[in-house]
Amino acid sequence: MAVRVVGPTQWVFYPALAVIAITIVLATPVELFGFKLPEPVLPLVLAFAWPLIRPSMVAPAVLFGLGLFLDLFWGGTLGLWPLCLLSVYGVVLASRNLLAGQETQILFVWYAVCALVAFVLAYLVVTVASGRAPSLLSLLGQVVPTLLLFPLADWMIQRFDDGDVRFR
């Protein structure tokens, strides 16, 4: 059987492209019965999963690009989401030895903590930049859909962790 090599194309570039595509689709102005589409911060899933799959120099660089994409696409402060995403990446990278091989529930708790860190950081930056604190209720409207994306992160970790035989 041929050796299956899972390189950065599979676990970094394809997911990044998928995240960009889904973010663009979710920005479509649809309103059904007064409800709009959710707006989760999709790259947060990657910022959590990538350092657990494997430390790499490509991943934070792509994450930086994804953050810039979010800022430009949503029209926010340039540099806001790169900072938040890379903070999460850094925290998970530092705690990698603790998290490796943990159960899904533990991972979810850690994912929630990381998401909270990212949103608190974004909240502080926006508060300072615009001179007024955003509404907590609308913040919750973005935090909850982002937390619900955890199964994606879990699936990515299961799928790609140790997926490359060269790292065994």
Binding site: W74, L78, G90, S130
Partner: protein
Amino acid sequence: MAFRDGPFESLKVPLAWTAAAVVVVAIIASVLMILADRRHDAAGDGYGPVRAGFDGAAGPVNGVLAWPVRWAGNATDYVKGYFFAVSENRRLRAQVAELEPWRDQAIALKNVNGRYEAMLGLRTEPPVAMATARSISESRGPFVNARLLDAGASRGVRIGNPAINEHGLVGRVVGVTGGVSRMLLLTDVASRTPVLIDRTDARAMLSGDGSGNPKLEFVRGVGAVQAGDRVLTSGDGGGFPRGLPIGVAARGIDGSWRVKLFSDRGAIDYVRVMLFQDFGQLVAPEALNPRPLAGLATAPAPTLEAAAAISDSAARRNRAAAASGPGPAE
């Protein structure tokens, strides 16, 4: 000598360390970018070519995505219109009957108002040209509330132009490229709009906070606001024309005054961008700065008879003053 045989062979840096180095560099770059961000500079040059180019590329993509949504919405409206035609007809008849006296009153008031304006020589605002645009993408999060519109500089849209829909004010344009422009909604954290309360003419500042109902801040006067008061743009500062409908005042959960936006009554799909910049464009700048007491310069020169009469009366006055006693030293 192959690379692997060289002195770098024994040099092995752990993957985690190199990744951490990239993270640190990227975080520093992000912080510098945040500090250098000038996207809401009034001068307009903060909306750089990168943002403009990005919007220009994202616009058509989202336009394609928004098309089926719009088509489905139109189809639903068509079907609804077919099935609910009778009840709709009844409702509209009642509405027409209710609105007819208002129309007559409006015509009468317009007539009276026109006379007042003519009598007082008021300089009223001329009608503002509009560009119709469709919203093709939106960001709804707590940190940004903005929309991309499919009309840009080629249609005359400029940074600062207010945008309205059929219900009321929606936002203002903060970035423009050739065919796409970005509209900041009233609900955005960075949005500030000078408003007035229609009932009391009290001034306030409408500032968004990412929620659906922006806050009324700096309300002047005691009891100036009541629940249900209409809120309009005040036109102070010249950013918006005066009198655009915004919404209705209401108490928020936290006890602060908030505004239920009229533009929330329906989906914000089509908007009209008012090609309005500030008071400066409405009249010629020279007309706003006439010379003081300019009217005196227009008096005609006195005729010969008038000049003789004036000098005669002055001479008689001097003679009378001399006869009555010592006059003022001349």
